[in-house]
């Protein structure tokens, strides 16, 4: 592992100042000299593998601002402090009651130990587990810009069928992010240029020609909170995750669904898809396909067809298109049948 200096700032502005001082402002955060660390579950692993090579680690766990560690429930929604751990949010009774899709996405992610470590902000910023990204012998445009993509013609069973480019087909593996994008969450960030709010849907960037630029954040910008707006009908929501094994695995396909129903008729549907795309994936065409329709197997199937209409399979991942459709159909019908 590349040697690094370890820093423990005690407030947000000190953390930002450290990152600004030791990082070029045009560096992508994932390639910056100074990087933030919270739960460590993703970054420590990638530092061991040589995928991430910061020479300065800025530990956010000593930041004194209490809101960073709080889950606040208000009339406007729920505000998660960035340093709240996944396990705490998953177990929060109000989160479970108001937003089953959020609690479910957290509970089905990682393991008990990792959920106790991983911060919510770090979780949404987690990096892909593409085998060719993880192993530094392979060319990878995300790890070494311009070096090529070994996954494109490689063993790409777990790779993305939506949102890919000629440069990168790595899957975004997170679960929580799918619930957040479906519910129109907002990210609060603070950096050297001040504080700002970012719609969750604008946080992650599709790979395009620059797969090493993964988010809209600057290298010296910290997520301070994630806000989920109040949506009374989000009690009718769930997260369905399909994996190679029943637990502690990344999704092959997943669906975050929330439904506002009038009887069987869909007033509003929110749909996001995991395991199949390069970024958190809002399936707006599928949502529109259900608008004002009665939700039954036929309309759910039509929505699933719409969701995957632009899917592009590679050699080993074509199965994800059919699996993704079936996952969405099941998620829609199970959400419809929830007793709320």
């Amino acid at each position: 592992m590349r040697p690094f200096v370890y820093e423990q700032p005690t407030n947000i502005s000190a953390a930002v100042a450290l990152a600004s001082r030791f990082t070029n402002s045009d560096d992508a955060p994932t390639r910056a000299n100074a990087q933030f660390i919270a739960g460590a579950t993703n970054l420590a692993d990638y530092m061991k593998l040589g995928v991430a090579q910061p020479d300065r680690l800025v530990d956010l766990n000593r930041l004194a601002e209490p809101a960073l560690r709080q889950i606040r429930i208000t009339d406007d929604g729920i505000r998660f402090g960035a340093l709240v751990r996944m396990g705490e949010a998953a177990d929060n009774s109000e989160v479970k009651r108001r937003y089953p899709v959020v609690a479910g996405s957290l509970k089905l992610a990682a393991s008990g130990q990792i959920r106790n470590m991983a911060s919510l902000a770090g979780n949404v910023l987690q990096r892909t587990r593409c085998e060719y990204f993880r192993e530094t012998s392979w060319p990878c445009n995300k790890r070494v810009p311009g070096s090529g993509c070994a996954a494109m013609e490689g063993f790409n069973r777990q790779h993305a069928v939506l949102g890919a480019s000629d440069a990168c087909i790595a899957t975004y593996h997170g679960d929580f992010a799918q619930a957040l994008i479906a519910l129109d969450a907002v990210v609060h960030a603070e950096g050297s240029r001040g504080a700002r709010k970012i719609p969750f849907a604008k946080l992650h960037r599709r790979p395009g020609d620059t797969p090493h630029i993964e988010t809209d954040l600057a290298a010296d910008e910290i997520i301070t909170a994630i806000e989920v707006p109040a949506i009374p009908w989000a009690r009718r929501s769930l997260y369905l995750k399909i994996r190679d094994r029943e637990s502690y695995a990344f999704a092959l396909a997943s669906a975050a669904v929330a439904l506002d129903l009038d009887g069987d008729k869909v007033r509003e549907a929110r749909i996001a898809l995991g395991g199949v795309a390069t970024v958190p994936w809002r399936a707006r065409t599928a949502e529109q396909a259900l608008q004002d329709k009665a939700l039954d197997e036929a309309s759910a199937k039509a929505a699933a067809e719409a969701a995957f209409a632009d899917a592009e399979p590679r050699r080993d991942n074509a199965f994800k298109i059919e699996l993704g459709k079936r996952t969405l159909v099941r998620a829609l019908l199970e959400t419809r049948d929830m007793k709320v």
């Binding site: 200096v5 001082r21 460590a40 692993d45 766990n61 130990q113 990792i114 106790n116 502690y248």
Partner: protein, 206 residues
Amino acid sequence: MSQPSALPATDLNRRSFMTGTVSAVAAVPLLGSPAKAETAGRSDTGPREPAVTSLRINKQPYELSLDPRTSLLDALRDHAGLTGTKKGCDHGQCGACTVLVDGKRVLSCLSFAVMNGGKEVTTIEGLSSTDGVLHPMQQAFVDHDAFQCGYCTPGQIMSAIGCVNEGHAGSEDDIREFMSGNICRCAAYPNIVAAIIQARDETKGA
């Protein structure tokens, strides 16, 4: 949470005696530098500067002088001499390195030791009392033959204690789901589940 009681941390005095001996031998002594405690890493020091980390392991104070790259796992095994915590994959995939930090189960391989300054770490060595009385979870693993080769067992036991304390051991399905971060290649899973149920029930209301 919903669990009526936490599993006891067992007899502190007798354990302190035993681990105190270990720490005196194995921990790196930092003579006359109390002011340095918990000042791990500063902007004016280079990466070659050891980070001084003060933490408590099994109720005993330790002051370790470490390369900042040292994982909590390596600090426990190679610097504190507590080899009960096992290194399996070293990448957060197997759970063999599970310990409790401030009472919560975590993976010691994915945490840098310097991040744990001021924390209370509990390892498998911190569970039983010196007169040989095992922690109820340890005894349950023996009673149910919940292992074969034993390599994953310290991590299984620490994770199981965390699982019960979190209130996630309500049913067999819950136990399987919330223990999924601990892999047992001998596949002792049914016995592990039975052991956790026994320890859970024994410590209820105790």
